[in-house]
């Protein structure tokens, strides 16, 4: 293969022959952008499975048109997501893009979509609030909701059911945790709770011990919105330092991989609530069916679909449903297809009814979960509450919600 490449580099004349993108008119091309390198690779791979599952369920075709799936990898940076999308559009000639995985990438593709009005973008799992709330793009659809929607139910549960009045926040210093904190605080502060201090830590910080000792001793609980290694590090160090406040988790903080890792901190997590749009061992009938379909299709995948498989699946599934409605007709800059997408209503794997708001952002179901100890001593998450029909304004008047301004380190605030 390397020989080929060198030939192309050396003799541009040869390369010129490769310019014309091969395209067969009948195919519907779906480009998928996910993170297949670095720390997110395993998760990004699961997102791809979600798309493949949706396509497989449709038998690989829509109204006689074959569906071709083309995959590109990004590396979590917005630049790489944009490059991947451009390659898919301009070189591979895709009609639809499903992706990306992370928040900053989502904002970047939202901006890019405005330059390619003939292509329809369906968000993967990226969950930044502004992707659809502010400066929305006509051809960018998000069925999975944003990071604030994913926390709905947790704030009131913590205040009303668990009786917490004062909560400290420890979260990574970038847009996704900001959004999660907003989702939590909107409810929690409205219910009368206070958040005296927020600790924003650089992503990838190894040593949280000094933060641990800075947490005020009079709080009732600590809301932790950290991901992956950061969460493991913080929780371990908090436990080792003798920290004994209950934990409230963000959507990616108390996932199964952390519950499966070793360490005495785990005992402390029992009973910890968290918010998430996807619960791996949810026992709704639709979810069980979805899980069976997933494990049947991908024996080497996870034991149950992750949040990424779920969200990529929903986008691809929605695209296929809308395509079926218009018989695969993508003419006229996909006008009919998009109208079908906009009006789409379908039952999600979690049993709710999915539909879009006027910004083409999903009105989703959200779960409040709780860590519990299984009979064999391992830990799992179980659903304590399902909140149906969560919109992007979190149930508030949209204009008033917008007027609160974009989320940041200091917004919202209720010390």
């Amino acid at each position: 293969m390397f020989t080929n490449l060198k030939t192309i580099t050396m003799t541009s004349a040869l390369a010129l022959g490769a310019f014309a993108a091969p395209a067969s008119a009948e195919d519907i091309k779906i480009g998928v952008i996910s993170i297949l390198e670095g720390a997110f690779a395993a998760l990004g791979q699961d997102g791809i499975r979600g798309v493949e599952l949706a396509v497989a369920e449709a038998g690989g075709e829509v109204a006689g048109n074959e569906i071709e799936v083309i995959v590109m990898s990004s590396d979590a940076s917005p630049d790489s997501a944009v490059n991947a999308a451009r390659k898919l559009i301009e070189q591979d000639g895709v009609d639809i893009i499903v992706g990306p995985l992370s928040g900053s990438e989502g904002l970047a593709l939202r901006d890019l979509s405005k330059s390619f009005p003939a292509v329809t973008f369906l968000n993967g799992s990226s969950a930044a609030q502004d992707t659809t709330l502010r400066d929305a793009s006509d051809n960018f659809f998000r069925f999975g909701g944003d990071g604030a929607q994913w926390m709905v139910g947790v704030g009131s549960f913590a205040h009303d059911d668990l009786g917490y009045e004062k909560v400290a926040v420890v979260a990574e210093d970038y847009s996704f945790p900001y959004t999660q904190v907003l989702g939590f605080m909107t409810e929690f502060c409205a219910a009368g709770g206070t958040v005296p201090e927020k600790f924003w830590t650089p992503i990838g910080a190894k040593d949280y011990s000094s933060i641990v000792y800075s947490i005020p001793s009079d709080v009732d609980a600590v809301f932790v919105a950290l991901g992956g290694a950061d969460a493991v590090n913080f929780l371990t160090q908090y436990n080792q330092a003798g920290g004994d406040k209950p934990i409230i988790g963000g959507s990616i903080t108390i996932d199964q991989s952390i519950l499966d890792s070793e360490g005495p901190f785990k005992q402390q997590l029992i009973g910890a609530p968290a918010g998430t749009p996807t619960v791996s061992d949810y026992d709704g009938a639709e979810w069980k069916e979805f899980t069976a379909s997933y494990t049947g299709q991908f024996p080497d995948g996870f034991s149950a679909p992750s949040i990424f498989a779920h969200h990529y699946y929903m986008s691809a599934h929605a695209a296929i449903l809308a395509l079926e409605e218009v018989n695969g007709d993508l003419s006229g800059d996909q006008a009919a297809f998009r109208a079908a997408l906009t009006d789409l209503e379908f039952v999600t794997p979690t049993g709710g009814t999915m539909r879009l708001d006027e910004n083409r952002n999903g009105i989703v179901d959200n779960f409040v979960t709780e860590v519990f100890e299984r009979e064999d001593g391992t830990l799992g998450n179980r659903v304590v509450k399902v909140v149906r029909d969560v919109d992007q304004s979190l149930g508030q008047d949209p204009a008033a919600f917008l007027a609160q301004g974009p989320v940041s380190r200091d917004n919202p605030s209720c010390p």
Partner: protein, 288 residues
Amino acid sequence: MTFFLIVTLNGLTLAALYFLAASGFTLIFGLMRTVNMAHGALLLLGGYVGFEVAKTTGFWPLGILGGGLAAAFAGALIQFGILGRFQGDELRQTLASIALSIIMADLMLWYWGGITYQVALPDALAGGFKLPLLGVGYASIRLVLIIFAVVVGITLWLVIAKTRLGAIIRAGVDDREMLRALGFDVAKIFIIVFALGGLLAGMAGVVAASALSIAPGTDLQFLLSSLVVVIVGGMGSVGGAALGALLIGLAEQYGLAYAPTYGVVFTFAIMVFVLAVRPQGLLGRSET
């Protein structure tokens, strides 16, 4: 006051970890003038292997040893198979080590996946204890970490000051040509020292995986911290690595405690300041 002391203690433990990571890096640099950009990858490899060994044997110290030896072997292999071919051409060595670090990171991601690993500690070290006088809880492993770094530091100093290999290293740092002129098998010595650097990196990896955790990306974090520690302390000086680690570890913890958002930037501010005032680093020799 209690808080300040705790943060200081945290700074010391972080410094201990940084010292373990940076000492191998500076040793290799001092003797061979090779900026081993694959040092972080060696550290991560040691961490993973240490995890496997500790899990299989259930014996934590064996994990440290296993991780160290695996990285030592990989380091020797790198020097023997690739970097040693361009001895004296430091730029190409550096570039080749960048390529190696990309490959190693990708292969480790393949084998161990993107998840986070923590080495299980023996029960005696797993939890915390109440610090006397201060009356707050503190992690046992962190104190062990400080002791471990001091032991490694003293051992390293003894090796360099008292043994034949140490004498060769000291002579080589001053004048590499002299080693050749005195009839030493320089290629062999370089491989040994690279293995030694790998050993230190690998052990640091297991210790890091015990006290904190390791995951893809840990390699770059420790490579960069080693780089900064060595620039501040003085390139090629083990004592400088200790001093640099102390400064950077403390700065990072004070930064995190008192100004979390700019904590990382403090670290680099120290570095730029040192560079401006004393370009060879605090304990480094002048370049010329």
